[in-house]
């Protein structure tokens, strides 16, 4: 499974991204987000070592969706590799959620 769920003290569901977000991870990642739709979410990017174009699409789409649903969406603990990948893919690091990128 590319993703897993844990709980934080605020009981905000956390979606933990897997290490490798390549083409094979895109569909499971989208499914995981769809499953959590309707509630605020924090996405833990601490373990991410690789991020490809399709998983970026899913992350952006999720951010748009949560925005449209007027629910909080945030990326937390982004790894250096995750930030580098975002830079390479031309996406401002804070474009992925209204919570900013808390490190």
């Amino acid at each position: 499974m590319p993703v897993g769920f844990t709980s934080n003290p605020r009981i905000v569901p956390v979606l933990e991204l897997s290490e490798v977000l390549d083409i094979k991870a895109a569909a499971p990642l989208a499914a995981a987000f769809l499953e959590r739709r309707g509630a605020e979410i924090l996405v833990d990017a601490a373990r991410v070592e690789k991020l490809g174009g399709q998983c970026l699409q899913v992350l952006l789409s999720a951010a748009f969706t949560w925005k449209a649903d007027e629910l909080p969406f945030g990326i937390v603990e982004p790894s250096a590799a995750f930030l580098d990948a975002l830079a390479l893919l031309g996406v401002p690091a804070d474009a992925l959620g209204d919570q900013g990128l808390a490190r």
Binding site: V20, D22, I23, A26, A27, L29, A30, F33, L34, R37, E49, K50, L51, G52, G53, Q54, L56, Q57, V58, L60, S61, A62, A63, F64, T65, K67, A68, A80, A81, L83, D84, A85, A87, L88, L89, G90, V91, P92, A93, D94, A95, G97, D98, Q99, G100, L101, A102, R103
Partner: protein
């Protein structure tokens, strides 16, 4: 096979092609051809391998390709001169790259120490001394996203990009991802060319409920400042050609020193197309958000603004306006099984046509009748179809020849000899089934030529020869066969030594009187070895025997021409295909056999005065001034218990390798025809003395004689090897 495995398989097939390109390009550069097209082709080959390897997370391969590519990039930029040392290092690196590809494909291992040493050697080529080998414990370096910073640092070590600004609009199609490529990899390659500002257009990203996770809805605009030209920029997209839209527009020349027509044209096109250099909404936002994470972005705004900036895309495959490349003929990849099946079917068609002709003949229809005329046309058409189908499977021998330079380098290094390889006739085509079985004997012959044929540099200098020895490998078509020659300019065969060794090993009598040719052919005898010590290179004294048997198994022959002090030439003559054969149809003890026409020198009716007994059952026939052993094919194959009377038979004078001649006794000759070869091993089992089978026009199966095997069987029956040698030839 799942789709990913199929893509991976295609990747490895393409790797082989790229490796061939790489090697031939490097050899061309080594030979003094240093035009940008050649250097670019070499760079592209490594680049493509790296790109694909990255998609499959083949980290070792990616790491090494990355270092190699960096060195090639310096070569391409003119920062590195293609000296003998540099090309030598790169050729060795190409060998390691090939090993890594094969290890990734076949699951084997590579010589890690060699790989590391070459990596360091390549890195040391960095003109600024800034080259580094990526850490081995960081699998992500060099390919994916984390290394971007490293890459940019590396670029900092290079002269600052000057001159050109490009704006690139890159829109991947879903196929790009489906083929296991990734936009991130392409973008990373772009950043290697210079200073890149990348902005992502997210305007087409839908809400999750409408998102196809395996589709493609992002596009990118890259502003690139680089010293490279438009062709180099476009090269980045070659690997994903057809799987994305790419629009490249040149913006400005900073130095203005040279007039780049392509850049100007591209710039004009850009201006006509509209505001191609406009930043996307994301870029505008990026400009307003100096620090990541400092502010929340209104994504709905991003999407709205993104829509406003459309750049007319052009297919990635659109050719460069100034590209001087010649268009390659369109090709398709076809599964070999399909071609084999087609060849089998055409073989059946040929047999069927022959059977039909037989029926027409038996029906007593006149030659001038419409049926016979139609049959003639059918025969011609069948033959044309057969030739065309065989041409599909024909391949240039280049695929075998291209493995030889590496072999030469390795053997030369092991023996401490300096060797120059010259190849000719690489485009000569031969059936794939022959090519596949050519590699081993050829490899052994080349090893032998260097190890045993060429003298040491010191010995050569003493003899007034250049220290560098030469091995020439050539291929040509001759009389419907392919002839491959391996020639060296070494010492030639040391005949007294060869004869002494053969006598010591009991292969010939010590006092046997042998011609030069017969002595030369002794090296093909099983177990013969002239090496004073067994070397790792040429095997253990079974080499030339194995070579000879491999060639014979292909229906070929091998011969030697050697001149003391001047070198030796080994000549292989092989059939162009293993699918059809021109044969003489004969009868032996009521059985129909086919004798390969290439083996037959002449046919004759033995006369009483010509046939002589040698004691026992052995007989010879006098043909002109030579006595030739008579071999009764019926007896050798067990069709009859007693030897036939030669006077009631027909003798086929056949020639073995090295010119040894024998006369095969058969009962009668029925005619000559082309027959379709059917493997006996595949359909029944191996039968000694029989090479294969075929189906004749009357529907009967006829066996194809293995002439050399029959001769060898009779030879083993012969009372004395010496007698045979003296009688031959």
């Amino acid at each position: 096979m799942d789709s990913l495995a199929a893509i991976k398989q295609t990747f490895f097939q393409e790797c082989e092609e790229q490796l061939a390109e790489l090697e031939s390009g490097l050899l061309a550069i080594e030979g003094g051809i240093q035009d940008s097209e050649t250097v670019n082709a070499v760079f592209r080959a490594v680049h493509s391998i790296k790109g694909g390897a990255g998609a499959f997370a083949l980290d070792d391969l990616v790491r090494f390709a990355h270092v190699f590519e960096t060195a090639l990039d310096h070569l391409r930029a003119g920062l590195l001169l293609p000296s003998a040392e540099v090309t030598g290092c790169m050729l060795r690196a190409a060998d390691v790259l090939a090993d890594l590809v094969r290890a990734a494909r076949d699951g084997g291992s590579v010589d890690a120490a060699r790989c590391k040493a070459l990596g360091e050697e390549l890195a040391a080529l960095d003109p600024d001394g800034a080259g580094t080998v990526p850490e081995t414990d960081d699998g992500m370096d060099g390919i994916d996203f984390a290394p971007v910073l490293v890459e940019l640092d590396d670029l900092d070590a290079l002269p600052a990009p000057s001159g050109r600004h490009f704006t690139i609009r890159f829109t991947p199609h879903p196929d790009l991802y489906a083929k296991a490529n990734d936009a991130a990899v392409i973008l990373r390659e772009i950043t290697r060319l210079g200073d890149a500002t990348i902005t992502c257009d997210t305007s087409d990203v839908p809400l999750l409920s409408e998102l196809d996770p395996e589709g493609s809805c992002l596009s990118w605009t890259i502003r690139l400042r680089t010293a490279s030209d438009a062709a180099a920029v476009r090269e980045v997209f070659e690997f994903v050609e057809g799987d994305c839209d790419v629009a490249i527009s040149a913006e400005a020349e900073e130095d203005g020193e040279d007039l780049d027509v392509a850049a100007l044209l591209a710039r004009l096109q850009g201006e006509v197309a509209g505001e191609t250099a406009e930043a996307t909404a994301q870029q505008l936002i990026a400009d307003e958000t100096p620090l990541p994470g400092s502010e929340v972005i209104d994504l709905s705004e991003v999407r709205r603004q993104g829509k406003a900036h459309e750049v007319a895309p052009e297919p990635a495959s659109k050719p460069e306006a100034t590209a001087a490349s010649t268009a390659a003929p369109p090709t398709i990849r076809v599964d070999l099984d399909r071609v084999d099946r087609l060849i089998d079917l055409v073989g059946e068609l040929v047999i069927n046509q022959a059977m039909l002709a037989q029926r027409v003949f038996e029906a007593g229809l006149a030659r001038a009748s419409g049926v016979a005329a139609g049959l003639d046309e059918l025969e011609q058409l069948t033959r044309e179809i057969q030739d065309s189908v065989m041409a599909i499977r024909a391949q240039p021998v280049k695929s075998v020849f291209q493995r030889i330079p590496r072999l030469v380098r390795e053997v030369a290094a092991l023996t401490g000899k300096t060797v120059r390889l010259v190849t000719e006739g690489e485009a000569t085509e031969v059936d794939k089934t022959v090519i596949e079985r050519l590699s081993d004997p050829l490899t052994h012959m080349i090893r032998n030529a260097i190890d045993h044929g060429l003298e040491s540099p010191e010995a050569r200098l003493e003899k007034g020869k250049p220290a560098e020895g030469q091995v020439r490998l050539s291929a040509l078509h001759r009389s419907g066969r392919i002839v491959i020659e391996v020639a060296d300019d070494g010492a030639g065969i040391d005949r007294p030594k060869v004869k002494a060794i053969a006598a010591r090993k009991g292969l010939v009598a010590a006092d046997a009187v042998l011609s030069d040719e017969e002595i030369d052919n002794l090296i093909f005898l099983p177990g013969f070895s002239t090496a004073a010590s067994i070397s790792d290179i040429s095997g253990r004294g079974v080499g030339m025997d194995v070579v000879k048997r491999s060639i014979q198994a292909l229906g070929g022959r091998i011969s030697i021409a050697s001149r003391p002090g001047e070198g030796s030439t080994f000549t292989m003559s092989l059939p162009l295909t293993l699918a059809v054969l021109d044969g003489m149809v004969v009868t032996v003890a009521g059985q129909t056999l086919v004798v390969p026409l290439t083996a037959i020198v002449e046919t004759l009716q033995p006369k009483a005065v010509e046939v002589h007994g040698l004691g026992g059952a052995a007989r010879v026939i006098a043909i002109r001034e030579h006595f030739v052993p008579l071999i009764d094919v019926g007896r050798e194959l067990g069709y009859r218990g007693n030897d036939a009377d030669p006077l009631d038979c027909v003798a086929l004078l056949v020639e073995s390798e090295g010119g040894a001649r024998n006369a095969l006794l058969v009962d009668a000759i029925l005619g000559q025809r082309q027959v379709v070869i059917k493997s006996l091993e595949a359909n029944y089992r191996h039968v000694p003395g029989i090479a294969a089978a075929t189906i004749l026009g009357d529907g009967r199966v006829a066996l194809i004689l293995d002439v050399d095997a029959v001769v060898a069987r009779s030879r083993s029956d012969a009372a004395s090897h010496e007698t045979f040698l003296a009688a031959a030839g």
